[in-house]
């Protein structure tokens, strides 16, 4: 076994999360991971649905303020995800589906930020004008979060 991974797995944080049996250990970290995922993917999806034309009377411009909430969700998911990873790094880092998930998440986050700059912060937004690639970005966000969630869930089964 890789000595680095082994030392990770023996670290205090890994032992607390993985082995303490405390409700504040593994269960809470897992919940925070789900909560973070639910927030970043869910709010991103809700905003994407608006861009796709559902709820047309919801103004686009104020939705820009939802992006910090998405980022908080992402950061909560990333930190709790790291804590979950160190409890069993050897297994996870040898699972193809784990890397598939990371790629989906990376693309989804890049796409999310692109939505922000191209749609919600474009100079034309105050007139309610959407750029021509707005629908593509919105569809991509739904697709990428569905992919990330599916791959993430399958880590437990494959």
């Amino acid at each position: 076994m890789d000595p680095f991974l082994e030392s990770l797995q023996q670290s205090a944080i890994a032992r607390f999360v993985g082995e303490s049996g405390s409700l504040l250990g593994y269960p809470t970290i897992l919940f925070l991971h789900t909560l973070g995922l639910g927030t970043v993917a869910g709010v991103n999806a809700a905003v994407a649905l608006r861009v796709l034309g559902f709820g047309r009377n919801v103004p686009i411009e104020p939705l820009d303020r939802l992006f910090p909430i998405m980022w908080i969700g992402f950061i909560a998911s990333a930190i709790s995800g790291l804590a979950l990873l160190v409890t069993d790094p050897v297994t996870r880092l040898h699972q193809t589906v784990f890397y598939v998930k990371l790629i989906f998440v990376a693309l989804a986050v890049v796409n999310m930020q692109m939505m922000r700059t191209r749609i919600f912060r474009s100079p034309a937004v105050s007139d309610g004008v959407l750029p021509s690639n707005a629908r593509t970005l919105a569809m991509a966000s739904l697709f990428l979060w569905i992919g990330a969630t599916t791959a993430g869930r399958l880590i437990a089964y494959i």
Partner: protein
């Protein structure tokens, strides 16, 4: 707790039968009198009955566990009751879901989607029929005095009666060929026999989770007073997407329960999850059709405190549904 799960089931199972019948009668009177007000009340009642069909059905799944441990209980009777209950549950949920959609549309356009309301009537009438059968089969589990023709129910009939005093135990299901696919136990078995189905449902269940959470957050932030430049009616348009997430998760969630009822019947975390699902469901009805959110969150308007409380309740109750769902293996005994 002084009340056990079977006791709870005996109380709750009156809601789909009697409550469902009452909602159906209201809807018929609404048609006869051509009353829009009565129609709204009937559809709201149908939705609430469908909501309470969750604990009624699920407490039955729980009661089954303790019942099958008793020596004089026949699994055949329990299974026949379970199958009828599953049909009632499905029909009642279809009636409830369509009621919600009709109420949502009515709130937006001010008139009733006629076909949709007609289908609510059809599903309610069918579920009333299956609920009556479910109640009758349920009674036979413990009340032999009401059985006229003392035969096991037809669809699970066996060729050879079990020897006296040797009722099948909970773990010993009848041979596979005798369980039809369209029965509670048969459906659960067919589901568990296909190894890919559980992981696939888990993935879909989590997609449903973020769909609900994202839309609920966005819509209810308006009720809390954020993004005030637009009226609540604009955000209200997105609610069917949360309802779609809920529908997806009811289907996948009920498959988990049907496949492995022993994981949920006596699971304290599941009990709390269902309690907060009830709260979230009642709240969803309020923010969909009631006057408060609709009239007091106009463009530029900061909603009154009761509407803000409704918005906060939506967010908190859905978060708690999620929390207790995630805790199923830790506070309870699910895997």
């Amino acid at each position: 707790m002084n009340m056990n799960v079977p006791h709870l089931h005996l109380l709750l199972n009156h809601i789909p039968t009697i409550g469902g019948a009452a909602a159906l009668v209201l809807l018929i009177i609404a048609f006869v009198r051509k009353s829009d007000d009565l129609k709204r009340i009937a559809l709201e009642a149908t939705y609430v009955v469908a909501l309470f069909t969750f604990p009624a059905y699920l407490s039955g799944v729980g009661a089954q566990q303790s019942l099958l441990e008793m020596p004089d209980i026949s699994q055949l009777f329990v299974d026949a009751h379970w199958t009828a209950a599953l049909w009632t549950f499905v029909l009642m949920q279809l009636a409830g879901a369509l009621s919600w959609l009709a109420l949502w549309k009515w709130r937006r356009i001010g008139s009733w989607p006629t076909t949709m309301v007609a289908f609510v009537f059809v599903f309610s009438a069918l579920s009333f029929a299956t609920a009556a059968r479910t109640a009758s089969l349920g009674g036979e589990i413990r009340h032999p005095e009401i059985i006229v023709n003392a035969q096991p129910p037809a669809e699970t009939a066996v060729t050879e009666a079990a020897p006296e005093g040797a009722a099948p135990s909970a773990t010993e299901a009848p041979p596979e060929t005798e369980i039809g696919w369209m029965t509670g136990r048969g459906l659960g078995k067919a589901y568990m026999d296909r190894n890919w189905m559980w992981p696939a449902s888990e993935a879909i269940h989590f997609i449903g989770l973020w769909l609900i959470l994202g839309v609920i957050l966005l819509v209810n932030m308006r009720l809390l007073g954020f993004m005030r430049s637009a009226p609540y009616s604009a955000f209200h348009r997105l609610l069917p997407w949360a309802a779609l997430g809920l529908a997806i998760n009811v289907v996948t969630g009920m498959m988990f329960v049907t496949g492995t009822p022993e994981q949920y019947g006596a699971n304290i975390s599941f009990l709390w999850k269902i309690i907060f699902l009830m709260v979230a469901g009642l709240n969803l009805l309020y923010i969909t059709v009631f006057e408060g959110p609709w009239h007091h969150a106009q463009a530029g308007e900061d909603p009154p405190i009761r509407v803000k409380i409704a918005g906060a309740t939506a967010i908190v109750s859905w978060l708690l549904v999620m929390y207790f769902g995630r805790m199923l293996p830790f506070l309870g005994n699910a895997f």
